[in-house]
Symmetry: C2
Subunit: 515 residues, 2 copies
Amino acid sequence: MAPPRVPLFQFYPHLLLLLFLSFVLIMQTVTPLPVHKAPRLSLHNKDALLISRSRPGGAISANALLDFKTYFYRQTLDHFNYAPQSYATFRQRYVVNSKYWGGQSFNNSPIFAYLGAEAPIDNDLSVVGFLNDNAPSFNSLIVFIEHRYYGKSIPFGTMEEAMKNETTRGYFNSAQAIADYAAILSHIKHQFSAHDSPIIVVGGSYGGMLASWFRLKYPHIALGALASSAPILYFDNITPQNGYYSIVTKDFKEVSDNCYKTIRRSWAEIDRVASKPNGLDILSQRFKTCSKLNNAEELKDYLETIYAVAAQYNRPPNYPVTMVCRGIDGVHNGSDGDVIGRIFAGVVSYKGNKTCYDMNTYNYPSETSIGWQWQTCSEMVMPIGRGQNETMFPAAPFNLDEFIKICSEIYGVPPRPHWITTYYGGHDIKLALNRFGSNIIFSNGLRDPYSSGGVLEDLSESVVAVTTRNGSHCLDILQATKTDPEWLIMQRNTELQIIQGWLTTYYADLKSLNK
Amino acid sequence: MAPPRVPLFQFYPHLLLLLFLSFVLIMQTVTPLPVHKAPRLSLHNKDALLISRSRPGGAISANALLDFKTYFYRQTLDHFNYAPQSYATFRQRYVVNSKYWGGQSFNNSPIFAYLGAEAPIDNDLSVVGFLNDNAPSFNSLIVFIEHRYYGKSIPFGTMEEAMKNETTRGYFNSAQAIADYAAILSHIKHQFSAHDSPIIVVGGSYGGMLASWFRLKYPHIALGALASSAPILYFDNITPQNGYYSIVTKDFKEVSDNCYKTIRRSWAEIDRVASKPNGLDILSQRFKTCSKLNNAEELKDYLETIYAVAAQYNRPPNYPVTMVCRGIDGVHNGSDGDVIGRIFAGVVSYKGNKTCYDMNTYNYPSETSIGWQWQTCSEMVMPIGRGQNETMFPAAPFNLDEFIKICSEIYGVPPRPHWITTYYGGHDIKLALNRFGSNIIFSNGLRDPYSSGGVLEDLSESVVAVTTRNGSHCLDILQATKTDPEWLIMQRNTELQIIQGWLTTYYADLKSLNK
C-alpha cells in the first residue's frame, strides 16, 4: 500500500526532486522508465513492465531463471551491537545457480556474487546477465543476494512495518548491508564446501559502491570486485555538485545543439505560459496531461526526469537522448519555433504516442522509492545540484543545511553527511589507495551522469578504471545481446580478462602457499 | 565500587580463570602485577602502584606529561545505526602533545596516534614511551585516544551505569571503537590543520589488534600501523588452544628444566595436601596466605597467574621467569625436594618477602576486569585452553559450548565467536593479505605467550613481522631505558626504519600527485 505523501515534499519541490536519485538498474527497454528519482516516481509496476516490454535477448529467459534456487539465510539484525534486540534475525533471500559450477574439486572454481542494491533482487536477476553470461567459461557458481529492507529480505515482516518508526529504520544502512553479505558469503562457502573458491563480487550503481566497499572492507571474503557505475566520489564535496546535470547537458548538446538550446530555453517559456490567467490549462492541453496540472513545477519535474533518465540510460541501440532530440528537432515552425510544441514532441518521441501523459507520478511509492529516500536522508547524502546557468536546467543548488532540516523533519533524525567518507574514504582516493588494496574494477560509461562521481582513472595496478566514451549507467553488467556495439563487447572482454588475471594469480598463490 | 561477584564464577573456576585474559600493558616494574586475568584479579590500585614502583627511566616523567593537553570529543554512541538513541553522544578523551610537531607547514609532519585498549588511558600515557621517544626526530604530533567504556570515556556517565544492562552494554565493541578512532583522528586533522599529515597508529595487545584492524579498515585515515603483541589469530580455531600456555611452559623450561618439572609436579602435590583433613590449613600456613584458603583452586589460580604473568611480562633486566625459578631452584632439600616449599620460594622470589600473600584477588574488580570480561564474552572470544599433559599446567580445555552458556547466563546475550574473523579476517591470512593492504608491522616477542596467536611471518612486502627471540608482551612500545638490551634497541630501530620508509614513500606520492 502507498504510504501517505509526506507534506514537506510539496514545499521543497526542487530540492527534493534533485536529491533522491535512485539508481535502480533498469533493463534495455525501448523506453526506460524514469526510475532515478525515487520518491516522486511510479515504480510500483516496474518489474512487470520491464519484463513484458523487454526486447528479445535483453532479459534472462524464464528457462534460465529456473536454474536458480532460492534460499533464505537467518541474518543478524545488527552486526555492530550486542544488545538483545541486535540479535533479532530476519530472513534474507539469496538465489544460487550451480549449473555451471565446477566445485571445489574442480580447481576451486570461483563464485560470482551479485550484491543486491536498493530494490528487490528479482529484476536484477532478470537483467544483470554478466554473471550468467560468463559463468560457463569460468565454471562459476552464481549467487544473487538481496539487500536488507528490500524484496523478501525485510526485517520486521513488511516494508510498512520496517519503515514505520525510528527504531525499526535504524538498522537500514550500508555497513550493515555489507556485513550481511560477509555473513551470507561465508555461509555459502560452507554450504557448498567451497572454502578455497575465490569470490568475485559484482554490483551496479549503489550496488557497485557496495561491491567496491566490500572488497575494501572484507578482502578476506571477496578476492575482487566489479563495481559498475559506482559514484563513490559523489559525497562530501569531492565531486562538484553539478557533475550529474552537467553530463546530462553535455549528452544532449553532443546529440544536437538545437535540441540542447530548445530545452534550455523551455523552462522560462513554460513559466511564461503558466503565469497567464489560464496558463495551466494551456500547458495541460498542450502536454496532454492525464489530469490538469496543479502547477508548472509538476510539468518541469516531469520533463527534467525524462532528460535525466534518457541520459542515464542512454543505451544502444535506441539511445534515448537521440530519441528525445529527434522529437524536439523534428518540429519546424520557423527559426524561433514553438518551444512548447518542440518539447512535447520530444516527450512523444521518447514515451510513445499516448492518449495522455501521467505527470502525477509521486503517488505510487515503491519499495525502492521508500527505501532509497531513507538511505539518502540518513547516510547516502549525495550533494547533487546545479547553479545558475551551469547546465541546461534551471538553477537548483544543493543546500546541505536545508537538506538536513528536511530529512530531520521527515525521519526524526538528521543525516550524517560525512559518514560515508569517514567509513569508506573518498577524499584523495588515489593517495589513499595507490599502495593499498587491490582487485577492483571501477567501470563507467562516460555518458552516464553518475560517472561524474565515479573513479575514472586507475588508482593502482589492480584498482583500475574501465571507461567507455559512449557507455551509460550499468550497461556492462547487463545481459549481452546480439546488437551490442563493438565498444561494449570490448569493455566486457577487458573486464573479464582482468578478473581472469586475479583468479590466475590467486590459484598460483593458493598452490604456492601449499594449501 | 565493586559490583557483586557473579555466582557462576564459582562453579566454573578453571574455565573462567583461563578465559578472561586481559592484556593491560603494565610497565617495567620489579614485580609485574598479575593483570592478565581480569575478572579475578586486583587491579583497583594498579596505576598508583605502577607509577610509584617504576624504575628510573621506566615511566615518562611528570614533567613530560605536562606537555600533554587533554581534550574531549563529542563521540557518536552508535556509528552503525540511525535510530535516535544511536545519535546519543558521550565525551571521549584524547590527549595531544604538540611540543615536537612540525605542523602542516613543515612538510606535513606526521601524527603518531596511540589507540587505547581495555583500560583508562592514563597508565598507557605513562609507560608507552615509543611515541614520545621518537616524536622529536619525526617532528610528530603525539595523540593518545582512550577506548570507549574506559577511564573518562564512558557513555552513560559511569562504568556502573554503562555496564548496568543489556542495552547500555551493547555499544561496547571493537567495531564501534575503531569507528570512534576514525572520527576523532579526522577531527584532529581538522583541529590541527593537518589535512595532509600522515597518521601512524600504534597499539599494544588488544590495542595492537585495533591498530592493525584500523589500518585495514580505515586506510584513508591511517597510513600505517605498529601492532605490538597483537594476537589477531587467536580466534576461531586458527591458533591451537594451548598456544598460550605452551609458551609459558617453554619459557620456564628454557630457564630451568628443574623449575619446570617442579611446577609441573606441584599441582598434584597441592591437591594431595589439600585432601588431608587439615590440608587447607597446612597450605595456608605454608603459603602465608593473608586469609585461610577456601579451597585448593584459590591457591592454584594464584600460582598459575604468577607463572603466566611472569612469562607474559618476562622483561629485562629482571626477567620474572628467571626470578621465579631462582626461588624454586634455590631450595635444596635432597633430590625429591619439598615441592610445596620450592613453589613458595618461587612466590617469594617473585613477589618479595611479605608478611602475607593475598590470594583473594577476585573481589576487587577494576574497569579493565569488568570491561574486558564483557568484551571476551561478546566478541573477543579467544579459545585459550590446554589439554592433558600438553603443558606444565593441569588440563583445562576450552569448551566453546560451555563458554557460550556461561556468558549467556551472565550477560543475557550469547557471544558471537565467529564475528571477529568475519569482520576482520584471520583464516588463511597470508592468502588474503599477500596482495592486499600495506604498511602494518606486527611485532612480537617470542617469549610472550600471546605471540602464539600473533603474525610471526611477513604477509607481504609491507605487511611485515618483526620478532625478537627474547622479547615479551608489548616490550617494544614501552619507553626506552638505559638498561635496554641490544636486541630490543635493534627491534625498535627496525620498526622506526620501516615507518620512516612508509613516510618517505607517502611524501613522494603526495608530491607526485601534485597536492
